[in-house]
Symmetry: C2
Subunit: 341 residues, 2 copies
DNA sequence: TATGAAAATGTAAACGGTTTCATTTTTTGA
DNA sequence: TCAAAAAATGAAACCGTTTACATTTTCATA
């Protein structure tokens, strides 16, 4: 096993200094054509690959973008990864995806890990752990774009889904159907997406002078299982809902399963709506009425903005926020005619 | 903006050499307790973070595992990522995920990119581009574990799903139901998963002396759309199938959609089975009969083996292959009673 | 041909750590 | 108390690049 071949070895063989080799290889600074050829030939022959560690130790550049997500499950996150990867790929960069496992200290570790020379910029999605995230972000040496975080954090750049608007309009849609006892299965405590969706729900009720029954509000964990239990709980009490708004589609799927077991018909007995418009929601019978979240738009805007921060086209210290609008997807689960069949 | 604080600064403040600081911080070599305390306090106060680039420039260690997937869509890949991430996280390492976009030169670039100092080892899934992949892998300076690649490559370490066995048994299952004209929607050309699944299918037919009608073999792209078109094509010809084996569940979903539009009942008119057992397959009505692919087992075995290669517990030059068995998931789509309802 | 400008190349100092080996300090045991 | 052993520390080289600056070579022009 011969030692890793480095720039010095090439310089030695070509009979020049490492500086010249570096210049020849990177096309930075003048090198006589003949010399360049010789160097390139040797590099080729030796199958030389510059050590990225050493390189970025001096250049502070990595051509790598970091993406930190709270977890690596669900197609929602996969879609985010996919969109961003696509864009990163087209600008000849690399993507580094990591999961914070929804823990603040892990966010911190990852931000440090990436920020200290491994990536040129970070896209961070941390809906649960945002109390001190802004501080971490500001401390980071690399530009950071936040995704779906509480946007009351000053001095950060963030993009988010307009959860409030989406929840508000889908709730209004249910109200227009005439439902009186609309339940909500909300998302986990401390999750700002969940909070905003609940706010949209309750303000829509308020606008239409409908009461907010505390017994019709259940908390879930954004997964199928919790939706299943939540619906069972809702149906086992005196005040039964005539419509259920699940704060995301996964929980709505749990509702469908529970409803089938309880022989509750959707939408005849109880209407159901969700949020996210995940792929699986179109497979449900009837198709789930839900809020479309333009994930690709979110990812695209975030990565494009980040790249401009990295190139200093935009001042990274300048704060910015943009909320991306959602759209309503009408299936048969709300009582409308199911056009997907 | 003050300059990044480094080990020298700490040494200066503590009145010791950088060597001592390094020893104190990494618990390598002896340091007087009093000195250690002083150094730790200063490091704490200055919020010192060692530069990982500089560190790994000398140690040649990054505590990072690379994962290269052909693409970043579908829950199948998400599940792979998830399983591996979980294990990586528990060993206090980082995960770096990248997509090769199913292009061989990108695989090469990524392998170089990661292999030259960014990661300690790589898990590579490249079902389409394996002609020269083995060469690349052998050239890599870091240990590499292959996932679902053609296992006829010598001198590599690989884990794969036993596609043949899965396809064989689900085909036999259909045969036992008495279907005579079993069609297959196979996967894309050159994809070795696809090839093995087809081989399992045809050998099962052969074993039971059933003919292999070329008009009942259609090629898809492992996505929903191609399944949709494939089924339409199958039903528009003279020889119509009484059962369809879609080489993966996504294509089976396409079949369901097409069947609904054509008013073809599953399984009364045509039985349908898939492969992968993705989440969505249980949402179909009737539940899809499919082959369960233990992705978590696959990911787990791959990452554990890789870690042992990294720690030199296993000689990385030693080749190894293991095929992981699949299992049958019985839904209602094959003609069995649907127990999921 | 001499001269100055431009082009090509080299030297050496970073970058921020780790580690070998030598040196100093402390501890131990007779 | 003193030598020897053990423990703690420091000096400096090293990892593989890039790059500012100095130096040399080439080339065009007078």
């Amino acid at each position: 096993m011969h030692t890793t071949i480095n720039i010095r070895e090439i310089a030695r063989r070509a009979g020049v200094s490492t500086a010249t080799v570096s210049r020849a290889l990177n096309n930075t600074g003048p090198v006589r054509e003949k010399t360049r050829q010789r160097i390139l030939a040797i590099a080729q022959e030796l199958d030389y690959r510059p050590n990225p560690m050493a390189r970025s130790l001096t250049t502070k550049q990595t051509n790598t973008i970091g993406l930190i997500l709270p977890e690596l499950v669900d197609e929602f996150f996969m879609d985010i990864i996919h969109t961003i990867d696509e864009e990163v790929y087209h600008t000849n960069r690399f993507l580094m995806v990591a999961s914070s496992h929804s823990q603040r200290n892990v966010v911190e570790t990852l931000l440090d890990f990436m920020g200290s020379g491994r990536v040129d910029g970070v896209i961070l999605m941390a809906p649960q752990v945002n109390i001190e995230v802004a501080k971490l972000v500001r401390r980071s040496k690399r530009p950071v774009v936040l995704l779906n975080s509480k946007n009351n954090q000053q001095q950060t750049v963030s993009f988010s889904i307009n959860n409030f608007q989406g929840a508000f309009s889908i709730t209004e849609h249910l109200i227009k159907h005439g439902y009186q006892r609309i339940a909500m299965i909300q998302g986990p405590d401390g999750n700002c997406d969940a909070e905003e969706r609940f706010r949209g729900f309750s303000e829509a009720l308020a606008k239409h002078k409908l009461p907010l029954h505390s017994s019709l509000i259940v908390t879930g964990q954004f997964n199928e299982e919790s939706g299943y239990y939540a619906f069972n709980r809702l149906m086992s009490q005196n005040l039964q809902p005539d419509a259920v708004f699940a704060a995301n589609d996964m929980m709505a799927i749990g509702v469908y399963k529970a409803a089938q077991q309880l022989s509750v018909r959707i939408p005849q007995d109880v209407a159901v709506v969700g949020f996210d418009n995940i792929y699986a929601s179109q497979l449900l019978n009837p198709r789930l009425t839900t809020v479309h979240v333009p994930i690709d738009e979110l990812g695209m805007k975030a990565i494009r903005y980040l790249l401009r921060m990295i190139s200093r086209e935009i001042d990274p210290a300048q704060s910015y926020h943009e909320a991306i609008s959602t759209g309503l997807i009408i299936g048969g689960s709300c009582g409308c005619q199911d056009l997907s069949r």
